[in-house]
């Protein structure tokens, strides 16, 4: 079964350093990633080789429990994690990529949110996969907007 890749990009009107600070926190995904209901276990700032766990919404009221392992960190540009717990999808990889850009004369971030996975269940799985991709894209866009709102709402670092 070939790998599926779903990737979305958004330009956020907040600096890369702040975006990195939030995505680096393994306890904060429920605050901005659509579908993460709660982080059930975490290790604070992401560390290669360590894990964090979530409870995720799947379909309707159904939920699943997932565990992610931090595989690679290239601060403040790229982060790669692998996840389990999303059957029938396997070999799940999540990639966050950040690039500094100018937004209205201020610091901004081009954020690329990518997930790769291998759908299970043969032809049925491929059909389900095709059906779910538009929803995944929407949720990635919504997550990135959530992240932007969160950072705007928290205000500049000096107000902390």
């Amino acid at each position: 079964m070939p790998l599926t890749e779903v990737s979305e990009t958004a330009v956020l009107a907040v600096p890369v350093a702040r975006v990195w600070e939030v995505i680096d926190a393994t306890d904060r995904y429920a605050e901005w990633v659509v579908g993460v209901l709660e982080v059930t276990d975490h290790h604070g700032a992401a560390t290669v080789g360590r894990t964090y766990s979530e409870r995720n919404r799947t379909v309707g009221p159904l939920t699943t429990r997932s565990t992610w392992t931090v595989e690679r960190i290239d601060p403040p540009r790229r982060r790669v994690d692998t996840g389990t717990g999303f059957a029938p999808m396997h070999d799940m990889t999540n990639v966050f990529e950040l690039e500094p850009v100018q937004v209205d004369g201020g610091e901004g971030t081009r954020f690329t949110y990518t997930v790769r996975y291998r759908p299970g269940l043969g032809p049925v799985g491929r059909l389900i996969d095709r059906l779910q991709r538009p929803g995944l894209r929407r949720s990635f866009q919504a997550s990135m907007r959530n992240l932007e709102d969160l950072i705007v709402a928290e205000g500049p670092a000096e107000t902390a």
């Binding site: 605050e31 709102d149 709402a153 928290e154 205000g155 902390a160």
Partner: protein
């Protein structure tokens, strides 16, 4: 050994109850001193300065129909009221989705029928509660042996009814229905009225025609400030009371500002703090146990200030109801009257307080403002000022807004709530039967206690 000053009555606590009691006693010709631990008066009433003479309330703030005691006091003190802003739609947030609605009841078709029936039933049961002695109600033991949440689960289908009651209790108790007994809750509801009007939960939750209908020009703390001014130098600030010693003839109160000896003492402080005073002789164990169990709820108010109340132009009244899972439980337009800045205020109460109080301030600010944005739009993300008042962090309050009794407390220890201990009388919003925990309850309790002191005076 320090010299003790003398007064007829020492009032401990310059909150609304203590000041009201002191005012009544002075009016009756008694020599009174009020000892206040803080460097300000008002207790749970505190104004936040917005500049240009404007304020937003960071503590108790709303009044409404049947709260005649506090409304009468305000009129007497020249503090006018104005209506809480309610023109336009409110917003109901559930499962991350926001929906506009009119009136006080959010549009939740799955939860509403059951909740409506449950509210009618609450009102009917509340009418059977003897307000001054709820522990003598016919089903007192059964009702005090169960939580409000257990009862709500039994009389409603699904979790919607309970979730929506918890929205209200988040700001009313600073706790959830799972933490309060059914008997206490029915008594609380029964008190949402006056001698002529039976209390109802509807009056408790409503803005127009309910407990959130009005606010005070100049902020609610102005009541305390004006009462203190009328007491003309009788209020001593920065005087936390450490010990109360009494014998058959007098009471000595020892504070950081010195000792006073009086014929009577009115202790108008939160029950938990009353239990922590060093007593000689000791408080009766039942009273000590009760006061220890009447801990306040957990409540913080989070407020954001904008150049103008921009949401009003969108037909919104700034009110939000957040079902379980949100950062705040409810929010209001807390702008001062006139053309000044816009203020949004959200309650972080009970469950929400527990989820967020320990988080870094910046994270909490971000979460609160995103909740505000769900109701008022994305402009709410960028206030010109943001402030919080966490009442649990106030050492002379230890939470808020009131003390909801857990199962078993009222029937076992309730009769000790207002019972004087020798020459010491107890006052406070938690000692009121009508509008328990509200400003009206504080004023009632202050006046009732002053009457009791005058009746007992020798």
């Amino acid at each position: 050994m320090s010299v003790s000053r003398a007064a007829d009555v020492v009032v401990v606590g310059a909150g609304l109850a203590g000041l009201t009691a002191a005012d009544a006693l002075v009016t009756a010709g008694r020599d009174v001193v009020v000892l206040e631990a803080r460097d300000r008066v008002g207790g749970r009433l505190v104004n936040h300065d917005l500049g240009d003479g404007l304020v937003a309330e960071a503590g108790g703030q709303f009044v409404g129909p049947t709260q005649n005691q506090v409304l009468g006091l305000a009129a007497e003190l020249g503090v006018a009221t104005f209506p809480t802003y309610a023109a336009g739609d409110s917003v109901y947030v559930h499962g991350g989705r926001a929906r506009r609605f009119g009136g006080d009841i959010p549009p939740d078709p799955l939860a509403l029928p059951g909740l409506g029936l449950a509210m009618a039933r609450m009102n009917r049961l509340a009418r059977t509660i003897p307000l001054e002695e709820p522990w003598t109600a016919r089903h007192a033991r059964r009702w005090d042996g169960t939580t409000f949440a257990t009862w709500l689960r039994r009389v409603t289908a699904g979790t919607g009814g309970l979730d929506l009651v918890d929205v209200f209790l988040g700001s009313a108790y600073g706790a959830t229905a799972a933490e309060a007994s059914l008997l206490f809750s029915l008594h609380y509801i029964a008190g949402m009225g006056d001698e002529h009007t039976p209390g109802t939960i509807d009056r408790g939750i409503a803005v127009a025609g309910g407990a959130q209908e009005l606010r005070f020009h100049g902020g609610s703390q102005l009541l305390a400030v004006r009462l203190a001014r009328r007491l003309d130098g009788r209020v001593v600030l920065g005087a936390p009371v450490r010990a109360v010693e009494q014998d058959g003839r007098s009471v000595t109160v020892r504070s950081d500002a010195g000792a006073w000896t009086a014929r009577h003492v009115v202790l108008a402080v939160p029950p938990v703090l009353a239990a922590r005073v060093s007593w000689s002789p000791r408080l009766p164990p039942q009273q000590e146990a009760l006061f220890g169990r009447l801990a306040f709820g957990a409540l913080a108010k989070c407020e954001a200030v904008y150049d103008e109340p921009f949401w009003r132009a969108d037909g919104l009244n700034g009110q939000g109801v957040f079902r379980a899972g949100s950062t705040v439980c409810s929010m209001f337009d807390n702008s001062p009257p006139g053309d000044g800045p816009g203020v949004l205020m959200g309650f972080l109460g009970g469950r929400q307080w527990r989820a967020w109080a320990g988080r870094p301030a910046r994270h909490r600010r971000g979460a609160v403002l995103r909740a505000f944005a769900q109701v008022a739009g994305r402009r709410a993300l960028r206030p010109r000022e943001y402030f919080e008042q966490d009442w649990t962090a106030e050492p002379w309050t230890l939470g808020g807004p009131t003390a909801a009794a857990a199962p078993g407390v009222l029937t076992a220890l309730g009769p000790w709530r207002d019972r004087p201990f020798g020459r010491v009388h107890f006052a406070g919003a938690e000692h009121a039967d009508y509008w328990n925990g509200y400003m009206d309850g504080a004023v009632r309790s202050g006046r009732d206690t002053a009457r009791a002191v005058l009746a007992a005076a020798d």
